[in-house]
Symmetry: C2
Subunit: 337 residues, 2 copies
């Protein structure tokens, strides 16, 4: 592990750990999903050749940094919070793009780019006319994020550790996350975790049940993901199941808003309506950013959820999963008009 | 010059020639322009080091193919027309991005990527909150587009040759354009030209006066550009000056619409109103695409201008200068609702 670059007394709001990915996004018809047998709104892992083949069939693309936890950390910084990020890129063009964008967002990021090995991860994201996104991710070098890459001081010095479920797909990075969770717990920090994808939930079902019954304090997931984890077919049953297992569960339901479940209360938050959803990529990531920004400031849960909804609404009206406008200004206007 | 890959009997609507550029776009405050002493809404040529320095100071970016003539050719293809493109990239990551995007748009493009020399051109584009774009372009390998790169058959087989004024900044590519114009004229084709940028007009004033008095049939430019070329301070005087010098002049005025000046008539076209301009990059390029799409179908000038306005309105409501929705569908809905 890296020596503590950041002294332990420096307190960040949140540090996130995840796959460092550049998104390659195109807008396609529904027929494109059928032609390539892609499961709408899911994330599929693909090898480099499949990624290239798919790219060659895609319409003109927009390339911009992504990665679930990296989007969330960029969102927290854009809200005016302090955040750190742990994830790995290669020293190639996409690696430079990722590093530029996360530094430019104001996120603390100090993992050295790998000098050799597979290229920087990229996700081919197909956005259909309804704004839904379907992802095909080549993980590349991001699968080699080892314990040695963890900045212990950064994790110890952050109020909350945020872990991306996607990272569980690789044995090596799973161990890295477990180490990160142990470091944060030992330092008395909160552990938050996002379920990422319902297929991902099914792949790691028992592990994640153990995490939910164990170290996780704050859980993020959408309707399908919490149903997959709980094993219940209705959202209401899934809510009852999660209550008491974690301190707080934030469950998102797209245009139906979100539900925040804590031991004392269950709060329904309305989605902020938008004129047209252009690209839903990053909606869940930015909801988590808004919630954690509020949480680390000690705001009440309803306000935390409202900030999440507003942050998510900014991201879905344009292509790409990083905020185009400083969220700090967006939130000020919405909360204190 | 390349042997005729495309047999002369194959007729394309339009072939464009220009600098093959990938756009690196960020949204910044007005203060950013002041800090870096950038002239708002202009295009400045910068060296590689300045481009990197600027990139390092920019907010998170979106990377997507650009290049004025390439945007126009992509627009024509998106409208359902047939177009070709001539411009040069390196065999590097940005070169692959450019080649992918122009092929994916359906444009005929067969210039081989250079195996050595400077990297693919990129333009650092700063978009301010009013949607205005300020460009800083490192031309890289695009300055080495030589006569030998011209696909003679493609030019001879296209109803219209479209030349980008920006390309005049380099001595070598200026000669290439002159050769392309000669090939098209010899084949009895129409020559169209865009003035690109008012500073560019001033740099090449006498050359362009000669072009307007000579081979150019269809001229594109905005209010400032035609005033700079004509030497008149008012738009009305500039219109009178251009009348009769070219067959058709299409003069754009942002939200005030456009004016089409031909020998017989002067037609005012309204801009298609949009709710909010997010990024004006490519507005003029897509206006030219719409106009030339109509022109090569023999439509009346007012309809050509209207298609131009609709195409431009699609491009300014999102970040990036390439259409996100198939323009063919957009136009069908607007013209035949």
């Amino acid at each position: 592990m890296q020596p503590s670059e950041t002294p332990i007394e420096t307190t960040f709001d949140v540090t996130g750990i995840g796959n460092a990915i550049v998104d390659v996004i195109s807008h396609e018809s529904e027929a494109f999903l059928e032609e390539f047998q892609l499961i709408k709104e899911s994330m599929a892992l693909v090898d480099e050749k499949t990624a290239i083949d798919l790219y060659n069939s895609m319409s003109p693309t927009i390339q911009t940094s992504g990665g679930s936890a990296a989007n969330t950390m960029s969102g927290i910084a854009s809200l005016g919070g302090s955040s750190g990020y742990i994830g790995k890129v290669r020293n190639d063009h996409l690696g430079e793009v990722f590093s530029h964008d996360i530094h430019a967002a104001g996120v603390h990021y100090s993992v050295s780019p790998a000098e050799d090995g597979p290229p920087t991860a990229r996700s081919m994201i197909i956005v259909t006319p309804d704004g839904a996104r379907t992802m095909n991710t080549f993980l590349g070098i991001s699968t080699t994020l080892y314990k040695e890459d963890l900045d212990v001081g950064l994790i110890e010095g952050s109020k909350v550790l945020y872990c991306e479920g996607y990272i569980w797909d690789i044995e090596a990075t799973k161990d890295t996350i477990r180490s990160a969770i142990a470091i944060a717990k030992d330092a008395g920090r909160k552990i938050s975790f996002t379920l990422s994808d319902s297929f991902c939930v099914m792949r790691h079902h028992q592990d994640w049940i153990d995490l939910v019954n164990g170290p996780i304090d704050i859980l993020f997931g959408n309707e399908e993901e919490i149903q997959a984890l709980s094993g219940y077919e209705t959202f209401r049953e899934a809510i009852n199941w999660i209550k008491g297992r974690v301190e707080i569960a934030c469950l998102t339901r797209a245009e139906k808003g979100s539900v925040i479940v804590s031991q004392g209360e269950t709060i329904e938050i309305e989605a902020k309506p938008v004129q047209q959803i252009i690209d839903s990529t990053g909606a869940g990531d930015l909801y988590a950013a808004g919630f954690l920004f509020g949480y680390t400031r000690g705001l009440d849960l309803a306000t935390c959820g409202r900030i999440g909804s507003i942050a998510a609404s900014e991201i879905i009206v344009h292509t790409g999963a990083r905020p185009l406008s400083p969220l700090q200004e967006v939130i000020s206007k919405e909360l204190y008009p």
